[in-house]
């Protein structure tokens, strides 16, 4: 560790960065501060500040009305909760089935064509990742009608990109030597994939799947807001009718579900590695 700046003479001589680096760093900070101030002004213009100053009262009021939770409402929620978990789980399964081949096509070392297929696969990945599952759900409800099927497909479409991105990066980092050794036996490309690449990324695939499943449980809780099935539908109805004691039951149930899923996911990931 170099000397602390408070040590007298040295501090006036020793500099952490070059002058150019200093300027760049300060310039970057300046840009961030200016951008933030300008952005805040735009937001501020679109805000009714009276409501905001009233927010603590509103919040206290909401809380007061939400407690005690209407526990008997939970009886109605088991089916939507089951749907929510199923949408997340089936959606993740479908996403894995689609995402693994996409990753193989996108990885530089496994793609059949770097100039043609790889950009296409990367486009699929970025498109899927850019668009939130709620937007996918919005589109799918229009196309195939409301219900958990739309939610499942929405989850799957959003997750394909996630699975594809993480997996293709993992494939690009595998040990080349094992691939070379398999190629040297006269194995076909499909055999090289199955015998030297698949074993190397198998734990990663399982890890990504469980990780995404955990995220998808959260995502699935809101899809009902746009009619794509699951507990979000009940939430939407309760908020619309200002039934806050029901809202608190729903939120607590979601909290419990997410904590359980996170625990399961952590256990599985530990078992894999």
């Amino acid at each position: 560790m170099p000397s602390l700046p408070s040590s007298g003479v040295e501090a006036s001589i020793w500099r952490r960065r070059s002058v150019k680096g200093d300027l760049l760093a300060w310039g970057a900070w300046l840009v961030v501060v200016l951008a933030t101030m300008l952005s805040f002004r735009t937001i501020s213009d679109a805000t009714i500040w009276d409501f905001v100053w009233d927010a603590p009262t509103q919040g206290a009021d909401l809380l007061a009305r939400a407690v005690p939770p209407r526990w008997e409402y939970a009886g109605v929620l088991w089916k939507p909760l089951w749907d929510t978990v199923n949408m997340a789980s089936l959606g993740t399964l479908v996403a894995m089935a689609l995402g693994v081949p996409v990753a193989v096509l996108a990885a530089r070392n496994t793609t059949p064509s770097v100039t043609l297929v790889r950009p296409l696969a990367l486009l699929v990945i970025v498109a899927s990742r850019s668009i939130n599952s709620l937007i996918w759900a919005l589109l799918l409800v229009v196309i195939i009608g409301p219900g958990p099927l739309a939610g499942t497909i929405a989850i799957a479409l959003r997750s394909v990109g996630f699975v594809g991105k993480l997996l293709y990066e993992a494939i690009e980092e595998i040990d080349r030597a094992q691939v070379e050794a398999t190629e040297a036996t006269g194995a076909s490309p499909a055999q090289v994939l199955a015998w030297s690449i698949a074993p190397q990324v198998a734990p990663t695939i399982a890890g990504i799947g469980v990780f995404r499943w955990d995220i998808n449980i959260r995502e699935a809780t809101v899809l009902g807001l746009v009619g794509a099935g699951g507990i979000g539908l009940q939430l939407e109805a309760s908020v619309a009718t200002l039934a806050w004691p029901q809202v608190s039951v729903i939120l607590l149930l979601i909290l419990a579900t997410v904590i359980v899923s996170e625990w399961v996911s952590a256990q599985v990931r530990r078992a894999i590695t």
Binding site: A184, G186, A194, P199, Q200
Partner: protein
């Protein structure tokens, strides 16, 4: 390469082979090399001399820029992918860092040497012909790993892994072994055991081999013929006995070689003499080189 009458014996012919990498580095310059049936050639040279590139050009893991590689008279360079795979089956390769599939078992690694002979789905479900599995057991027994068949490769020691690597290469029933720095990751004792094993197996099966090796003493001790590579060109080709200080200087540059040469000679006397008795072919083939 001039002696036409001996062509029948050549298992590998490399003619005017050059390789330029996309970075512009010229790794091989018009290399000519010929390896006869049952001949074990050690390829020595400083790092970056092109040893690795040369043996990878033989089985086309690296595409040569120009030149010809002939295996048993048929040209390997320029083969279509299917025909190339068939040619690769006849060349077993052994790697520096073993290059085993770490997460698969020893048996699966051994069987992977047969991948070129079975279809995809058979290999996917591990339904190899019984004779292949029996051969794998026999070879594992031969290299002293009979009890390890169902252990995972990453549970093995370095020496054991390299034995699995050897079994995998032999499972191909090759005519030629390409061996890339087989002992670079091993301690001196294990290195000698592995080299001896490779030599014994080559003799048992009449296999030819090209062994990249940076340890000159090991090369002198075990090979029948030594080829020295420097900056992508062959600068020495002869019997281990003729590799003197002048030759080493031409390969590696100026250095005091007396210790290297002395050690090699001593080791050779201790290690080689009993082996020679069991290998009647060695003398004859060494003479041909």
């Amino acid at each position: 390469m001039s002696d036409r009458s001996l062509d029948r014996l050549a298992v590998l012919e490399v003619a005017r082979l050059s390789k330029r990498y996309p970075t512009g580095d010229l790794a091989l310059r018009e290399v000519d090399l010929r390896v006869d049936r049952g001949e074990v050639v050690a390829l020595i040279g400083p790092s970056g001399a092109g040893k690795s590139t040369l043996i990878r050009c033989v089985n086309q893991l690296v595409q040569p820029t120009s030149g010809v590689v002939r295996l048993d008279g048929t040209e390997v360079t320029g083969l279509g992918s299917r025909a190339l795979r068939r040619a690769r089956r006849r060349m077993g390769m052994i790697f520096q860092e073993y290059a085993l599939i770490e997460r698969l078992t020893v048996m699966e690694n051994a069987l992977s040497g047969r991948l070129g002979y079975v279809g995809f789905w058979r290999s996917w479900f591990r339904r190899f012909p019984m004779s292949d599995v029996a051969e794998a057991f026999a070879l594992l027994d031969r290299v002293g790993l009979a009890d390890m068949a169902n252990k995972r490769a990453d549970a093995l020691s370095g020496g054991q892994r390299q034995r699995v690597g050897i079994v995998r290469a032999l499972m191909q029933r090759p005519e030629l072994l390409l061996v890339d720095e087989p002992t670079a990751s091993l301690d001196p004792k294990t290195s000698r055991q592995i080299m001896r094993l490779i030599l014994e197996l080559c003799a048992e099966r009449g296999l030819a081999a090209i062994i990249n090796i940076h340890d000159v003493a090991l090369a002198r001790q075990f090979a029948m013929r030594i080829v020295g590579l420097r900056s992508g060109a062959i600068v020495f080709d002869g019997a281990p006995g003729s590799l003197d200080a002048a030759a080493l200087t031409s390969i590696y540059g100026v250095e005091d070689w007396s210790a290297t040469l002395g050690q090699g000679a001593k080791d050779a006397k201790e290690d080689r003499s009993p082996q020679r008795g069991t290998l009647p072919d060695v003398e004859r083939l060494a003479g041909l080189a």
